[in-house]
Amino acid sequence: MIKAILIFNNHGKPRLIRFYQYFAEDMQQQIIRETFHLVSKRDDNVCNFLEGGSLIGGSDYKLIYRHYATLYFVFCVDSSESELGILDLIQLICFFLCVCVFVETLDKCFENVCELDLIFHMDKVHYILQEVVMGGMVLETNMNEIVAQVELQNRMEKSEGGLSAAPARAVSAVKNMNLPEIPRNINIGDINIKVPSLSPF
């Protein structure tokens, strides 16, 4: 089970939090602070596992994280999850974010995800995440499937006029784009993205 997914920046400011177990708001903030304290001390060239997080779960739980540019992606998981699997998953999610949200930066490298994009589209990031992890369990790891579902839902929103029209154009950009080389660490699922045939807007 995944207990929590935390995304915060190099200063510990939360950019997205998703707890799969209820904590009151102040407790959530404390967990974020402590987690930030733990991971920010670590060099980039050390391993990405931290054992025995005291706040969530206890000894059975570990923190698995990745650090991209200005953002930390932290998963708190129990022993039923494969460490390397979760690491791949983080990379996968990051990749979706690039595909579906951070259209502008996609041609750079997804290792340079722009924090600003994430801030302004928190709701969109949540919707993507919901297609990958549900209730603390991994729902889908098939890239095509995820991209397709996100796209379909966005299109539906679009057809309703949307709350704000901005993010929908993100996906439209994807179709003309060459996706970057998938790093060798992503060896989960069969990731061969065929960009779905997207309807023009």
Partner: protein
């Protein structure tokens, strides 16, 4: 209406959306909280509007604020409103907000049931999907119960997108509403074989989670999973299944056997590291569960180790870390296969990643052997030097010590090496583990006898360079090492090359900056070193060096006497006084080394950790049963029951040992000795300890027939004296044997002697005759010293007294007596404890307190000074007794130049220093400030002890007040009762006692005490206390008691509750006098 809508959309144009809010917060970095509170006010306004788009926008913003830590539960109802919107865009916002901030305590949740049900059955799959996703985060037991059926139906939905979400959410439903598991399970099992891989994966996910909670119930699914494992290509599913198998194999070993092959196939074929790693992990789990049953799986182990090596060699830190983690699991069951990769593990110690280094350290712990220990530790020592950051260095330090000391230093072949390692470790700066190093030093020095010489030399160097360790004083934990160093140097000081130098190092003024407990050890061990130095210089004609040492101590110790630490102060002042005293003796050229050394006699020896277990509990003894009634609260502090056990057990054990066949014992002992001799790693006990155990041998240890109702005890022996006791017994035994031989000779000479001794003793009895004459006539020269009493004597609480003497004095000084009694209190108090102790030894049941008893009796008193005294003998010297006199200054003036003199009789002589005249007086070795008392010891030599006698003496002193000083004189009479020649001698052997009585060597006599109405145990206690007897056995109405004179006469008493005493002794006149004295004691009660 239409106008309202138009107005609403116009308003909307001015509303902030999420992006505006975020931008606004970023632009108000200084007053963020203030800005947000105005935003919240706006949001509250927006939520009041009817326009659902406005509300949805507001809720979306609230979701963002919730992430920043703001409580948005007040908007829960509005969230429900947005959730129930018919538009997907708003519904999605509402469900997202709900999933972020709803929980079981949110009361509006119960309003959502119907809305959620409606959404679940919506024709639009994304409405259903959004509802399922949201529900997965905030499902409550009520929702689970109400919606379980709807969700179960969705598990068979035509769209795989809905099916997989429905399957996954079932786990949450099971958790909240366990009753749903049974009806839903068959369908869930079906989904394991769903054509859609996503649904299949979800089903595997749910069942794996369920199985983790209760593996047994899911064993039956193993074949199905097995099939999935061999057919599936989805790595996520495979990983889940393989992990599940890892949890199931311990329950079903047969499963493990089947798994090995497909798992090894996967290991060979997969390119995914995550899958490879999980396969290896499960193979390890299988091998652990099979480790006993399966004969040969070295191939699988080899494969795992080989693959793990690839992981560890990878440049990816994560793989390296996990590889080491898995390696440590293999290490537990197959250490050999890991040991061959020692090089790799050692390489990891160089890794820049600390968590990897720590993992490698963990592995090293299990990899050491006798062969590679030194090499590994050497490598670690290099790392210690290089290590940055104290945490890692401390970790290294503890690991080095752990590695070396594991399983009783099993892998250490050279303890000199280990000591040097420990000494090297002390150079670490700022480590917290000083005490750890210290305890290792102590442990090794005590347990490895052969190393002591080396260790002492090293410790001496440490002490000498202590300033290097204590660089930053208190904060530095390393100074704990000095504790060990000082103790080792002191305790094993015989190995020191230059004890004087070490002593000097230990008394440097800088020492006073060390923590108190370390200073205390310094002071105590300085005394030990002092003893060693004295001993070393004893016998040299030039006593200069020894005196210099005393002077050094006298010069330096006052620094410690002033210490704020009580322990330091107490020890220092004791030792300072002792040294001053010794210095005086030195000046008189008295050889004191032996006595000083005796202060620290006895050697510490290792005791096997299981030693206590080897003491069998005697038959019929229930250690948990109360001997007395369970004590009430107030008695809970009473330590008596504890003392009873402590004293009893060892004796029982001895008695048990003898039940084993003697030959068998001898054989075992031989075997053990041989084994020990051949085993270089056996930490040998010191010879002295072997003396205690082996020299008398188990079969020689006297047997006590224990009657449990009457526990046999030694009066007042502290628990720790058991060894001493054994030793004593042995000595007695030897003595007794020697005596038997002597006895025969003596018997031959006996008659002649008696004739000779007759007139002598007659003279002794009447010293009064001689008083006048002898005051003028100086007695012969004889050697004298103020004897240092052996500490052991004090351990016997039953001490000498002679009440009858007091009585006589009473006649002479009736008036003074009254005052005196009041002042006696402190003595009374002291002796009371001892008295009760001896009662305890004799009897268990009584609890009545004993009246106070004193062992000191008044010698003489005037307005300036009071003297009380006590006479003690010991077995070591059959012709000497020590008279301890306490001088108390009652005046307001200073008393000095006290001179003590006694008119010797032919039988009893005060021992004077060599060269002094026979009538010279002895200087009391102290002065008395007002109100102070102090004790001096005088040694007397006695020849015959069968008669009591009195010696007349005088004390002269100078009273110095502000204006004047006057010479004063006080006469006294020292009464040597026959009792004072008796020594409390515990008699352990009832058999021996009985034999003694039967032997016929003893002459009998009896005594009847009239008008005694004290409890029987008080009576016994008094006899024990005042007359130095010990209870051998007590049965109901009578008790056997035993004592021995300093010249080895046995005195046996049978005391009956009718208050008659039957007595036997090999010397009738001694017995007669003792009985008289007993009678006098009780006539005064």
């Amino acid at each position: 209406m239409a106008l309202k809508i138009v107005k609403g959309s116009i308003d909307r144009m001015f509303d902030k959306n999420l992006q505006d809010l975020v931008r606004g917060i970023r632009n108000h970095k200084e007053d963020e909280a203030k800005y947000i509170s105005t935003c919240i006010d706006e949001i509250k306004q927006e939520l009041k509007q009817d326009n659902i788009a406005v509300k949805a926008n507001a809720v979306c913003k609230l979701t963002y604020l919730q992430m920043l830590g703001y409580d948005v539960s007040w908007a829960a109802f509005n969230i429900v409103e947005v959730m129930s919107s018919s538009k997907f865009t708003y519904k999605r916002i509402g469900y997202l907000a709900a999933s972020q901030c709803f929980h079981e305590g949110t009361d509006v949740i119960m309003l959502t049931t119907n809305q959620i049900r409606k959404d679940l059955s919506s024709p639009h799959q994304y409405d259903t999907g959004v509802a399922l996703t949201g529900l997965s985060c905030f499902v409550t037991p009520d929702l689970a119960r109400d919606l379980a059926n709807d969700i179960m139906t969705l598990m068979s939905h035509t769209k795989p997108y809905i099916r997989k979400k429905a399957v996954l959410i079932m786990y949450k439903v099971f958790l909240k509403y366990p009753e749903s598991l049974r009806p839903a399970f068959p369908r869930l099992k079906e989904k394991l074989e769903d054509p859609d891989p996503g649904v299949q994966s979800a089903a595997v996910n749910v069942i794996c989670e369920l199985a983790r909670r209760n593996p047994k119930n899911y064993l039956s699914l193993a074949p199905l999973f097995f099939k999935l494992m061999t057919s599936s290509t989805n790595n996520w599913v495979l990983i889940k299944i393989i992990k599940l198998f890892g949890a199931l194999t311990p329950l079903e070993p047969r499963l493990g056997k089947k798994l090995i092959e497909p798992l090894t196939n996967l290991i060979h074929s997969t390119s995914a590291m995550s899958l490879l790693y999980e396969c290896v992990n499960t193979v390890i789990a299988v091998l652990i569960s099979l480790s006993s049953g399966m004969p040969n799986h070295s191939a699988s182990i080899q494969l795992c180790v080989q693959k793990l090596r690839i992981l560890i060699e990878d440049s990816d830190q994560n793989l390296k870390y996990l590889g080491l983690l898995a390696m440590s699991k293999i290490l537990k069951t197959h250490p050999k296969s890991v040991q061959s990769h020692k090089d790799l593990i050692l390489q990891c110690l160089d890794d820049k990643d600390e968590s990897i280094r720590l993992r490698a350290l963990d592995l090293l712990y299990g990899m050491v052997s006798k062969k590679n220990l030194m090499e590994i530790v050497k490598k670690l020592m290099l790392h210690v030097d290089k290590a940055e950051g104290t945490t890692y260095r401390d970790e290294l330090l503890t690991k080095i010590i752990d590695i070396c000391s594991q399983s009783n230093y099993q892998y250490i072949t050279n303890f000199e090496w280990y000591i040097s390692i420990l000494v090297e470790l002390t150079r670490l700066e700022g480590t917290r583990h000083g005490h750890l190093i210290a305890s290792q030093m102590l442990d090794v020095a005590i347990r490895v006898k052969a190393i002591r010489g080396f260790a002492v030399a090293q410790m001496a160097t440490l002490l000498d360079n202590a300033h290097l360790l204590t660089g930053n004083t208190q904060r530095n934990g390393i100074c704990e090492v000095l504790y060990a160093a000082a103790w080792i140097c002191g305790e094993f000081s015989e190995h020191l090359e230059d004890p004087m130098q070490t002593l000097e190092a230990m008394l440097r003024p800088k020492v006073a900056t060390l923590p108190g407990h370390i200073q205390a050890v310094y002071v105590q061990n300085a005394a030990k070193l002092f003893a060693t130095v004295l001993r070393k210089h004893e016998g040299e004609t030039d006593s200069h060096a020894a005196q210099e040492t005393s002077q050094l101590l006298i010069d330096r110790l006052p620094l410690f006497v002033q210490s704020a630490n009580l322990e330091v102060q107490e020890r220092a002042s004791c030792i300072l006084q002792l040294v001053k005293y010794i210095q005086k003796l030195q000046q008189k050229k008295v050889e004191v080394a032996e006595e000083v050394t005796a202060l620290f006699a006895g050697e510490l020896n290792p005791v096997a950790p299981k030693a206590q277990k080897k003491v069998p509990v005697p038959e019929g003894l229930d250690l948990d049963a109360w001997i007395n009634k369970p004590p009430s609260e107030s008695e809970s502090e009473d330590e008596k029951p504890k003392a009873v056990f402590a004293k009893e057990e060892p004796k029982h054990s001895r008695s048990r040992h003898t039940e084993v066949d003697e030959k068998e014992l001898a054989r075992r002992r031989e075997a053990r000795k041989r084994e020990q001799a051949n085993n270089p790693f056996y930490i040998k006990a010191s010879p002295s300890s072997q003396k205690v155990y082996d020299a008398p041998g188990v079969e020689h240890i006297p047997v006590v027939q224990i009657d449990l109702s009457v526990p046999l005890k030694v009066p007042g022996m502290p628990m720790s004296d058991q060894y001493l006791k054994l030793e004593e017994e042995r000595r007695q035994k030897e003595k007794a044997e020697r005596k038997k031989e002597k006895k025969k000779k003596r018997e031959k000479r006996g008659k002649e002697r008696k004739a000779d001794s007759g007139p002598e003793s007659e003279e002794d009895i009447a010293p009064a005759h001689q008083v006048d004459i002898v005051t003028e006539e100086m007695p012969e020269v004889s050697s004298c010293y103020f004897g240092v009493i052996k500490p052991t004597v004090h351990w016997f609480p039953v001490q000498k007294s002679s009440k009858h003497k007091k009585k006589k004095q009473k006649k002479e000084k009736e008036e003074k007596e009254k005052k005196k009694k009041k002042r006696h209190h402190h003595h009374h108090h002291h002796s009371n404890a001892g008295g009760e102790d001896s009662v305890q030894n004799g009897t268990v049941e009584e609890e009545e307190p004993l009246p106070p008893m004193s062992n000191y009796f008044l010698l003489a008193e005037n307005s300036y000074i009071k003297m009380v005294y006590d006479i003690q003998g010991n077995h070591q010297d059959e012709s000497k007794v020590v008279v301890s006199v306490i001088f108390e200054n009652k005046s307001d003036s200073f008393l000095k130049s006290m001179e003590f003199n006694v008119l010797d009789s032919l039988n009893s002589k005060l021992q004077r220093p060599e060269g002094a005249g026979a009538h010279d007086s002895l200087t009391v070795p102290f002065q008395l400030p007002p109100g102070i008392s102090n004790e001096a010891h005088f040694v007397f030599s006695v020849q015959s002890i069968v008669m009591p006698q009195k010696l007349k003496g005088t004390l002269t002193f100078i009273v110095k007040s502000d204006e004047s000083s006057t010479h004063e004189k006080l006469d006294f009479k020292l009464h040597f009762t026959c009792t004072s020649y008796l020594i409390t001698t515990p008699c352990y052997l009832y058999d021996a006692y009985a034999k003694l009585l039967e032997s016929g060597d003893l002459k009998g006599s009896s005594l009847r005490l009239e008008g005694i109405n004290m409890p029987f145990h008080h009576l016994l206690a008094r006899i024990c206390f005042h007359h130095h007897f010990s209870v051998v056995e007590r049965i109901d109405s009578c008790a056997s008691m035993y004592s021995r004179s300093i010249q080895g006469h046995h005195v046996c008493l049978l005391v009956k509750t009718t208050v008659s005493i039957d007595a036997k002794c090999d010397e009738p006149s001694l017995l007669g006098n003792v009985l008289d004295e007993i009678k006098q004691t009780f006539s005064k009660c």
